[in-house]
C-alpha cells in the first residue's frame, strides 16, 4: 500500500493531503488578517506622500496628499474579525506619474527560501479577500528592494459590495537581486490608482518599477468609493491554501519586530526617577519585547509630569532596548512620568 510521495518541497499522502500549508510560517505576510493596529487603535489614517502605516505592517502612500483614507474595519468575510477599509476622498484623475496604493514590505529573511534571483526560484501564490463598491479589473504588483524588478498582476471583482476570494500564482523571478537579509525582500502592492508610468503588462516580470497592470480600476477615481481587504497570504507553491491563523500573541510579536508602542493606560506603568546632584544624569532602561529588525527610531510623545527636571530624552537605543534620561535641575530627587493617554513612547524600524 503506498503511503504517499515526497519531494524536496512538498509531501503528499496517498489520499491527496499535501504538506503545503501544514508547516509553520507558511504565510510570509504579517498581520494579513488586519487584527493588529498598534499605532492607530482603529482610527482612520489619511494618505500622504510618504509611507504611512495603518494596521501594523501595511502602509499607504500616494503622489498627492489626502486622496484616500485607510482604517481597520469590522466589515469582514466569514472567518475573519477585521479587514482594512480604503475610502476614496475625492475624484482623482491620474497623471502619468501618479500612484496611490496599499502595500506591505516583507523582510528578506522571510523569503530567503524562495531563491528568487536564481534559476531555482520558487513559485508563490498570493491570496486575499476583497470587497468594493466598484467592480472591474483591479491591479497590483510584486517588487524587489531596488525597484528594478516587478511583476504586475490583475484580479477581478465582478460583483459590488460582495466578498470575493482572489488567488494569484506567480512563477518566481529568476533574475534581479532579491535581498535575503533584514532589508526588503518583496514589496507586495495593492494598487488604488496608478498612472501609466508605473503600470505595465500583467503576468510577466519586468526590469522596471511597476506597481500595477495597465488599465486597472482606479479606486481614487471615484469619490467615496470603498475597498476592503483581508486574509492576505503569500505562500510558497502554486496553490492557495487556507489562511494561516496564527495566535494573536504570535502575530503581535511578529509586528513588534518592526514597531512597538507603550501607552500609559489607566495608571503610570513606567517612568523614571532618581536622586543625584544637579546636572548629573539619571537613566532608565526599557527592554523591547522582541528583537527589532535593526536599531529603531525612538520617540517620546506628550508632555510628561516632571519634578526637578526637564522633559525626559532618549540617550541611546539598540535592537533590544533603549535608555531614557533625565537630569535634575537641583540636587535631589528628580522624576518624570506620563500623565495622559497622549504621553507614550514608540520604537519604529519599518523597512
Amino acid at each position: 500500500m503506498p503511503y504517499g510521495t515526497v519531494n524536496a518541497d512538498l509531501m503528499t499522502t496517498s489520499d491527496g493531503v499535501s504538506s503545503s500549508g501544514l508547516y509553520g510560517f507558511k504565510n510570509r505576510i504579517i498581520n494579513g488578517a488586519m487584527v493588529i493596529d498598534q499605532r492607530n487603535a482603529g482610527a482612520s489614517v489619511t494618505q500622504v506622500t510618504g509611507n504611512t502605516y495603518t494596521v501594523d505592517r501595511f502602509y499607504i502612500v500616494g503622489s498627492v496628499t489626502s486622496k484616500f483614507t485607510a482604517q481597520q474595519s469590522s466589515t469582514v468575510p466569514s472567518g475573519f474579525v477585521n479587514s482594512l477599509k480604503i475610502t476614496s476622498s475625492a475624484t482623482t484623475s491620474l497623471a502619468s506619474g501618479d500612484y496611490y496604493f496599499l502595500a506591505q514590505l516583507i523582510e528578506g529573511y522571510n523569503i530567503a527560501d524562495l531563491n528568487w534571483g536564481s534559476a531555482n526560484a520558487k513559485t508563490i501564490t498570493l491570496s486575499f479577500q476583497v470587497y468594493s463598491s466598484l467592480t472591474g479589473t483591479f491591479g497590483g504588483a510584486l517588487r524587489n528592494s531596488a525597484q528594478d524588478r516587478s511583476y504586475p498582476f490583475t484580479y477581478s471583482i465582478p460583483v459590488a459590495n460582495t466578498w470575493t476570494t482572489i488567488s494569484i500564482t506567480i512563477a518566481g523571478d529568476t533574475s534581479g537581486t532579491w535581498l535575503t537579509t533584514n532589508g526588503t525582500g518583496i514589496n507586495v502592492v495593492f494598487a488604488l490608482g496608478i498612472g501609466s508610468t508605473y503600470s505595465g503588462t500583467a503576468g510577466a516580470w519586468a526590469g522596471s518599477n511597476l506597481v500595477s497592470a495597465t488599465g486597472a480600476t482606479s479606486v481614487v477615481g471615484t469619490n467615496g468609493a470603498t475597498f476592503f481587504i483581508t486574509g492576505v497570504q503569500l505562500e510558497k507553491g502554486s496553490t492557495a491554501t487556507s489562511f494561516d491563523y496564527r495566535p494573536y500573541g504570535t502575530e503581535l510579536a511578529l509586528c513588534q519586530r518592526y514597531y512597538w508602542k507603550i501607552a500609559r493606560g489607566t495608571s503610570e506603568p513606567y517612568g523614571i526617577t532618581g536622586n543625584t546632584s544637579a546636572g548629573n544624569a539619571i537613566w532608565s532602561q526599557f527592554g523591547l519585547p522582541v528583537t527589532m529588525r535593526a536599531t529603531p527610531t525612538v520617540t517620546i510623545y506628550g508632555t510628561w509630569v516632571v519634578v526637578n527636571t526637564g522633559q525626559p530624552t532618549v540617550r541611546g537605543a539598540s535592537s533590544t532596548n533603549f535608555l531614557l534620561q533625565i537630569v535634575p535641575t537641583a540636587t535631589g530627587i528628580a522624576t518624570a512620568y506620563p500623565d495622559s493617554s497622549d504621553d507614550l513612547i514608540d520604537a519604529s524600524i519599518e523597512l
Binding site: 520617540t299 526637564g310 530624552t313 537605543a317
Partner: protein, 58 residues
Amino acid sequence: MIYKQIFDIVRQQVQQNAILRVTDNAFIPFDPDNTDYQAYLKWVAEGNTPQPADEGTQ
C-alpha cells in the same frame, strides 16, 4: 524636516551616533538599516546641516 545634534551630558560632547528630528522629537540612531537615518543622510547630502546641540543640557 529639521534635525538637531544631541549633547551627551555625561561625556560633555555632541553624540556621535544619533541625531534628533526636531519636528517630532524622534531619536534617530546612526544605523544604516534605519530608514529615518537613511532619510537624514539624504537630507545632509542635499547640502543641509543640522542645528547645533544645546551644550550643557541633555
